[in-house]
Subunit: 184 residues, 2 copies
DNA sequence: TTGAAAACTGGCCGAGCGGTCAGGAACTAT
DNA sequence: ATAGTTCCTGACCGCTCGGCCAGTTTTCAA
């Protein structure tokens, strides 16, 4: 009990870290379990000893960002529409910057996410965020614009090294406000 | 010479048509040569008789939209910046609507497009479009906003059946104008 | 009618994938 | 030292993929 990192956790963490890097770099589908194992310095079988299957690795990689999104949606949902929109824009941009690398992973999965039951909650939360960003109006055009905004933001968070966090933050903030809060 | 559709062209067309539909439906990577062959009512070997390899099918499927984009970029490039931007916005939206299905194919490939030499020209043309949409200013933020706009538009063109062409057109037009021509 | 050219195909290949399993290695409490 | 538990692995399985090739069928001009 000298080290508080039992062997189990140490390996798990290493696998997750390398998997995250690879998913960002090459996408989820293009990354094989063998790739992850090699990068983590263990065997493919070890990866599957720590995680149920390949999807299990993805779930674990996405978990921190998922809970952060849940928290944001929960907080904003408790507010009146206008304030909820303001909070959603600001916090969503922060989230996007914080997890900028992971976002390209989501992008890679947009086609198949719907068919993975493990992520139905994540998808639902994304939809709720759309509603909040649209300002609570039922207006279909504004809802679609909000989706448009999310797509733009997701796409723009790729290419990790090219922009500082501050630059990315400014870009996303400007774009979201132009789209979602157009001057009357 | 009675029919002006020699056997060769007839089969080629059928393959391309079915390949396009499948690429739109399931994405390029998730579509196998066997899928295409079955849908086209021929054998996998026949597909490879008409096209050099799987990438060759993709190139052919993308060709009409590619030339349309080239034409747009060429025309706009000949104009002064402000008019070029206006033309680029309008024509690009039309293009996106016309080829709305194909766009999800591009989306599916964004990660790997850069590494396929067959598409370097397409990528370069996309970059030039970005510059035109940004209004010709060297301003980095506006350039990034233009990229943001393209990403948003690409993402929004998925899910073919959900919107009419007119609705999609209005959505893209509104979004692009909010992003790229913000009131001073 | 015929024979060469074009169009097409079944069968095969090597590679890579996600996933399983029996058993070896390392750690730990006694 | 020893026995039990946890951690790890090489070998293997079934499957699908893109691509190739020898050979058959179809087309079409002479």
């Amino acid at each position: 009990m000298a080290t508080n990192t039992p062997v189990r956790e140490r390996t798990r963490r290493e696998i997750l870290q390398q998997a995250m890097a690879l998913f960002q770099e090459k996408g989820y589908n293009a990354t094989s379990l063998q790739d992850i194992a090699t990068a983590a310095g263990c065997s493919k079988a070890t990866v599957l000893y720590h995680f149920s299957d390949k999807t299990g690795v993805l779930v674990a990689v996405l978990e921190p960002s998922h809970t952060a999104l849940s928290k944001l949606v929960a907080e904003a949902s408790a507010l009146p529409a206008a304030e909820a929109q303001e909070l959603a824009i600001g916090r969503f941009v922060e989230l996007a910057v914080e997890f900028r690398g992971l976002i390209s992973v989501l992008q890679d999965l947009f086609g198949s996410l719907g068919e993975m039951p493990e992520f139905s909650e994540l998808v639902a939360e994304g939809l709720r965020l759309t509603g909040l960003l649209a300002g609570g109006t039922g207006n279909q055009l504004e809802l679609d614009i909000a989706k448009f905004a999310i797509n733009g933001l997701l796409g723009e968070c790729r290419h990790p090294g090219e922009r500082t966090d501050a630059e990315l933050h400014e870009l996303c903030d400007t774009a979201l406000r132009r789209l979602l809060r157009p001057p009357a």
